[in-house]
């Protein structure tokens, strides 16, 4: 937990090698190298960027249009920051390694798997979660389409699918069936709701205002 323990590990990874342990040591972005394992490269590299952690560091995230201050260890993912630190739980942690899409949010206008983005790296970018795009009383057109077409059962994958669908339609307002299969191929559902989801995307393509505000109202 402390930096002391981290230095004890230098040169000799004890219990294997965890992804988080690795990420924690690396710090911000790909440029900052801090682990013993990469020491040689670090010596050869230009002076490293600012190294933070491994303890909690203050960060500011811009979430759903509001700046939010929190203190997290550098290894905390955006997904965990949202769910564990900010109680924004629409995005779900399922595979926790960028396979299933249940944690999908928008960052700087693009859909991302929030489990593979470090919270610290998400600073300075607009983050949009499902909580900002409508409510049960006033559903976003994509959410409404999922309801109208029964594109959900247990519903655990649904928020991720809704965000992925919204992202797809913003890039491609008139998807073909093939486009939508590719566009949503990065999201997985275990209950098997794909028939409803296909119909939902086609409906949402008609009802969702296009990104430029031109189309379909």
């Amino acid at each position: 937990m402390s930096s002391q323990k981290d230095s004890e590990r230098t040169g000799k990874p004890k219990r294997g090698f965890s992804r988080r342990g690795f990420i924690r040591g690396v710090g911000i972005g790909g440029g900052a190298l801090g682990t013993g394992l990469l020491e040689q490269e670090a010596l050869a590299a230009p002076p490293p960027a600012k190294v933070v952690g491994p303890g909690p560091v203050p960060i500011t995230l811009n979430i759903n249009g509001k700046p939010v201050n929190l203190k997290v260890e550098p290894r905390v993912t955006l997904c965990d920051a949202l769910r564990n630190y900010l109680d924004i739980t629409g995005a779900k942690r399922v595979c926790d390694r960028g396979t299933c899409g249940a944690c999908t949010v928008m960052m700087a206008g693009k859909t991302v798997y929030s489990c593979t983005v470090l919270a610290i790296d998400a600073q300075g970018k607009n983050i949009e979660t499902i909580e900002s795009i409508g409510s049960p009383e006033k559903l976003h057109p994509v959410s409404a389409a999922f309801w109208n077409n029964d594109g959900q059962q247990c519903g655990y994958c649904t928020p991720g699918f809704v965000m992925a669908c919204k992202g797809l339609l913003e890039e491609n307002p008139h998807p073909t069936l093939d486009d939508l299969k590719k566009g949503l191929g990065g999201n997985l559902c275990r209950c098997g709701t794909y028939m409803g989801i296909k119909a939902a995307v086609m409906e949402a393509a008609k009802t969702m205002p296009a990104a430029g505000g031109k189309k379909n109202g």
């Binding site: 937990m1 219990r15 779900k92 499902i130 590719k182 997985l188 098997g192």
Partner: protein
């Protein structure tokens, strides 16, 4: 009430809400991301838990030292599950757990726990019986009926084949776990727990027994569950561990959920089964004999001899042998129609191979086997075979094996069949009608995403003649009337029967209360369209609100009880459905890739409360089945005893591009309606591996023995390496 009330379902011709397809009630809250699953909860002062699990498939714990973990930053409690001498029997078995202020601290702290093991011999092989150390296998006997030797001697056609279906995991998207708080000790304990469970009612009793806390002091609540599929009935070890971590941390709530790798390793799987089968019969496609040797595993307990192979068809002359295989892997759990997918796959494959050997259309061979099915199901199977043939365009698209085109992409069709029970479980419901006209319905059931909330509300709204929006339904709380577990496709039959009874009873009380003012006996009144009106004289009526006002200050509160024993169902719910499905696939013989073109399901059903949601159940079952038929497999490494794909990258689920066109025919007919409500979660999930396996065999002209139908398995077969 002098007479027993009439609980029977209203005739289909008079139903206004049942039998229609309102959208699911929890749709808006789910599709807007606001549904709070137990794994979403962040309670005040909550701690985060993390597990240390066994890295070995089989080992004895020789020492465990938690001192460093206890001193680690943020740690509030440490709980050791094993003791010196404990044998862990699979990788991922729980060893110790930590609760800390943050999840990161908890994860870091478990890494500081030092455990030493004496590694013991393991086995994780289940598929080639000859390669398994005999210490891990056990003969489980022989069963025989008729005279199989004579049947094979006299047979005009004998086919044989090897078939196998591997262990697959439940892979619920919401993992197993809970948020749990244990305050106080002994009889003074108070426990509140928010699990992810298919059985909220029994959860408290089970937990109480294991923690020695009176059930009255335990409150279980769950609003939503992110998938169960048969793996989430009991509190499991993790609830006990979470409770102890909470108590040791001074009663602070603890959030403890399995990470994905542990979830895949220990939180449920469907046992494997492998078989060598010979089928005897006549040239016209009549089957006369069966000889099957099976083996498989559901973990260290092995797998008992299945009693449903051959599936559905009780072939008169048969011999069956079985060998149990003990595997050091996480133990099996019920998996959406336990034992049925495996039995269906092996049986349908063997029948299809017999058909190919005899040179007879498999549709004909299946139809000729129907007399071996239960008397009550025979007509249905014949009807379904015909309907499935029609919807799949069997006559046009099916060709005998090896006649499916000259190019590299071959097309094939195959049949799979199912049977299941699905009668309602015991259920208790309370309906409260208040003087202000509001209606509250209470039942400790749970909505797995099957639409349970929606169908209960439909039943009560239908009974009371009210719109669904006027019914407030409470479920998922152990303080509500006890209900049953959502397993075995028993929920819909149970909750619809008890909610019908409860609302009929409550309405009778209301009619008693207003009858004097209406000037007619209560039995002359009915509730329709928001009115209490005189039967046959619709003009003479009271609005619902005016009628309820006559209750003064006292609400009506009436129970409806269904015991699921004896004959108290009275046609409201019965058991027994069957189904026939046809897969239409393309197989690229150069790459081995199998693609589902179209999938047809003919589904037997009883009275369907919500055809729209029922169809979603069938779609979901088929899509899950396509995943298991084409992609899913728990891959184990015998050298290390480890699961090689405890994740979702290499444990592959079907995605939106993998499922093809699915056509469902729900057999909603008056004669089926009379059977009452029958559950549908499981029956349509059964035939898929059989249907797809047969379609692949039909396409490429060779049997691919092993599910899943991956390029590896297909190409091995084509190259003669299978």
């Amino acid at each position: 009430m002098a007479n027993t009330p009439d609980y029977s379902w209203p005739p289909s011709s008079t139903r206004k809400i049942m039998g229609t397809g309102p959208k699911r009630l929890d749709g808006p809250v789910k599709s807007s991301g606001r549904a709070k699953y137990s794994s979403d909860l962040n309670l005040k002062d909550m701690l985060h838990g993390a597990y240390l699990t066994s890295p070995h498939a089989h080992a004895r714990v020789t020492s465990i030292d938690t001192s460093a973990a206890e001193k680690a930053p943020g740690v509030q409690s440490v709980y050791v599950i094993v003791s010196n001498g404990t044998e862990v029997q699979w990788q991922g078995a729980e060893v110790a757990a930590v609760a800390a202020l943050t999840e990161e601290q908890a994860r870091e702290a478990v890494r500081l726990i030092k455990v030493e093991y004496e590694v013991l011999p393991h086995n994780v092989l289940d598929h080639e019986l000859g390669k398994i150390d005999p210490a891990f296998t056990q003969k489980a006997g022989e069963r025989m009926q008729g005279d199989p030797d004579k049947a094979f001697t006299e047979a005009e056609v004998v086919s044989d084949g090897i078939y196998g279906i591997p262990v697959v995991t439940h892979c619920c998207l919401e993992p197993h776990g809970q948020v749990i708080q244990w305050q106080g000790t002994g009889d003074a304990s108070q426990i509140q727990v928010f699990p992810s469970t298919q059985n909220v009612t029994a959860y408290a009793g089970d937990l109480g027994q294991r923690l020695k806390v009176p059930v009255t002091n335990i409150r279980v609540k769950m609003d939503y569950i992110g998938g169960g599929f048969g793996s989430k009935f009991n509190p499991d070890a993790w609830a006990i561990v979470g409770a102890n971590l909470s108590q040791k941390a001074g009663g602070r709530p603890v959030k403890l959920w399995l990470d994905r790798a542990t979830e895949q390793m220990i939180a449920g799987n469907r046992p494997s089964i492998f078989a060598k089968v010979k089928v005897a019969g006549k040239k016209d496609g009549t089957i006369t004999g069966w000889q099957g040797e099976t083996w498989g595993s559901g973990g260290v307990a092995g797998l008992t001899m299945p009693n449903n192979i051959p599936y559905v068809f009780d072939i008169p002359n048969s011999r069956r042998n079985h060998t149990q295989v003990k595997v050091n892997g996480g133990p099996q759990r019920a998996w959406r129609a336990p034992g049925n997918q495996q039995a269906s796959y092996i049986s349908c494959s063997a029948i299809d191979d017999f058909a190919a050997k005899a040179g007879v259309d498999p549709m004909v061979v299946f139809a000729k086997a129907v007399p071996y099915a239960q008397q009550a199901r025979r007509d249905t199977y014949l009807f379904q075979l015909q309907k499935a043939a029609e919807l799949s365009e069997w006559k046009t698209l099916w060709h005998p094996r090896a006649q499916n085109g000259n190019g590299p992409v071959k097309r094939g069709l195959g049949i799979g069949i199912a049977t299941w029970a699905g009668a309602g479980h015991a259920s208790q419901c309370r309906t409260v009608i208040n003087p202000d006209g509001s209606v509250r319905v209470e039942m400790c059931t749970q909505d797995l995403g099957t639409g349970t909330r929606t169908i209960i509300t439909q039943v009560v709204a239908e009974t009371l003649g009210l719109p669904m929006s006027q019914i407030k339904l409470l479920v998922g709380d152990s303080s509500l009337p006890p209900d049953g577990s959502s397993g075995g496709s028993t929920t819909v039959g149970g909750v619809s029967t008890s909610s019908r009874r409860s609302s009929v009873n409550a309405l009778a009380k209301l009619l008693d209360a207003v009858a004097p003012d209406m000037g007619v006996p209560a039995d002359q009144l009915e509730a329709r369209d928001g009115l209490i009106r005189v039967k046959g004289t619709p003009g003479k009526s009271l609005t619902w609100a005016a009628a309820c006002k006559k209750l003064g200050t006292t609400s009506i509160s009436e129970m409806g009880v269904f015991t699921a024993r004896g004959n108290d169902a009275n046609g409201m719910t019965t058991a027994g459905v069957c189904g026939v499905q046809v897969a239409d696939v393309s197989v690229d013989i150069e790459t081995g890739v199998v693609k589902v073109n179209r999938y047809t399901a003919v589904q037997d059903c009883g009275l369907v409360i919500n055809p729209w949601l029922a169809q979603s159940q069938v779609h979901g079952a088929i899509i899950m089945g396509i995943g298991t038929a084409l992609y899913e497999e728990r891959i184990m490494d015998q050298q290390t005893g480890k699961m090689l794909n405890p994740d979702m990258e290499f444990y592959k689920l079907a995605g939106i591009m993998d499922v093809g066109d699915i056509r469902v025919h729900m057999d909603i007919r008056e004669e089926n309606d009379k059977r009452g409500v029958i559950g549908l979660g499981e029956p349509p999930a059964v035939p898929i591996c059989g249907a797809i396996g047969n379609a692949v065999a039909n396409a490429i002209g060779m049997r691919v023995p092993y599910i899943p139908m991956t390029p590896e398995h297909v190409l091995n077969t084509l190259e003669g390496r299978a």
